[in-house]
């Protein structure tokens, strides 16, 4: 059994049958994120320099906090990321999440999430490694079928 050292640059990519605008809305509007992102509610104006907050359901707890670093609707969004959902990772340095949205032929959009600058945040790196696949799978399913994944 090999163990994985959590990567300091993580890349996740998925092809979605949707327009770039639809993908942008799905990653920036809380009514969408609540349906595929662990039920979390997003709060941000998505202007450069604005705060980025991801709340637990019912706003019981702040899960993720950051700042919008780049915002170019509907092509590219970058924000810093501090995992507050776990005490150990909450004290680590902020990392960076970049969403790249690229239209392809045939009404398909390629969405790539790059989570990097994780060099001083090994606990964060380990804790997000499985989550992004789950989130992007759910996002694709939601956009293509209108239904979130059945919760396990």
């Amino acid at each position: 059994m090999t163990t994985m050292t959590a990567q300091t640059t993580q890349v996740y990519s998925v092809f979605i049958r949707a327009t770039p605008e639809q993908v942008w809305d799905a990653i920036t509007k809380p009514e969408f994120t609540m349906r595929y992102f662990y039920g979390s509610e997003l709060e941000s104006t998505f202007e450069q320099g604005a705060s980025y907050k991801q709340w637990a359901p019912e706003r019981e707890k702040l899960w993720v906090e950051g700042e919008v670093l780049e915002s170019d609707r509907p092509r590219r969004l970058a924000h810093s990321w501090r995992s507050l959902f776990d005490e150990d990772s909450a004290n680590e340095e902020p990392s960076r999440v970049t969403w790249e949205i690229e239209p392809q032929e045939g009404g398909v959009t390629k969405l790539t999430v790059v989570h990097d600058q994780l060099e001083s945040s090994p606990k964060t790196a380990a804790s997000v490694a499985g989550g992004w696949s789950y989130v992007l799978s759910g996002l694709k399913t939601l956009l293509e079928t209108g239904e979130p994944l059945e919760s396990a």
Binding site: T2, M4, T5, Q7, T9, Q10, V11, Y12, S13, V14, F15, T112, V114, W132, S133, Y134, L136, S137, K140, T141, L149, A152
Partner: protein, 107 residues
């Protein structure tokens, strides 16, 4: 027409490509030269396998300076899991979960 799932299953149906994925799972962000040095295979052979993995979306390449780096992309496997594995294992798992909770209740 080949679907995304076809490409993923085809890419996984080869021991060398699974070996390449395991190497990238341990550590990715690697060049072709680095990957090639761990395999008993010609550069052309490794390139061919990497291309099939890339077509299936299991490997993503990104340029950093003059280097082309290879990353493992686990999302297609997650999609296969959600589409194929969950469906056939769910009933069994929930039966086990029910058994566990009823045993714990009576304990």
């Amino acid at each position: 027409m080949k679907t995304d799932d076809d490409l993923v299953f085809r890419a996984l149906a080869d021991p060398t490509r699974r070996h390449l994925l395991d190497r990238l799972y341990e550590r990715d962000r690697r060049t072709l030269t680095e990957l090639e040095s761990e395999l008993e295979m010609t550069r052309f052979g490794v390139m061919k396998h990497l291309r099939l993995l890339e077509e299936a979306g299991l490997v993503v390449t990104r340029r950093e300076g003059r280097q082309k780096l290879h990353f493992l992309n686990p999302v297609p496997i997650r999609l296969i899991h959600d589409r194929w594995i969950d469906k056939y294992t769910e009933r069994q798992v929930s039966a086990l979960a029910n058994l566990k909770s009823s045993l714990e209740e009576t304990a």
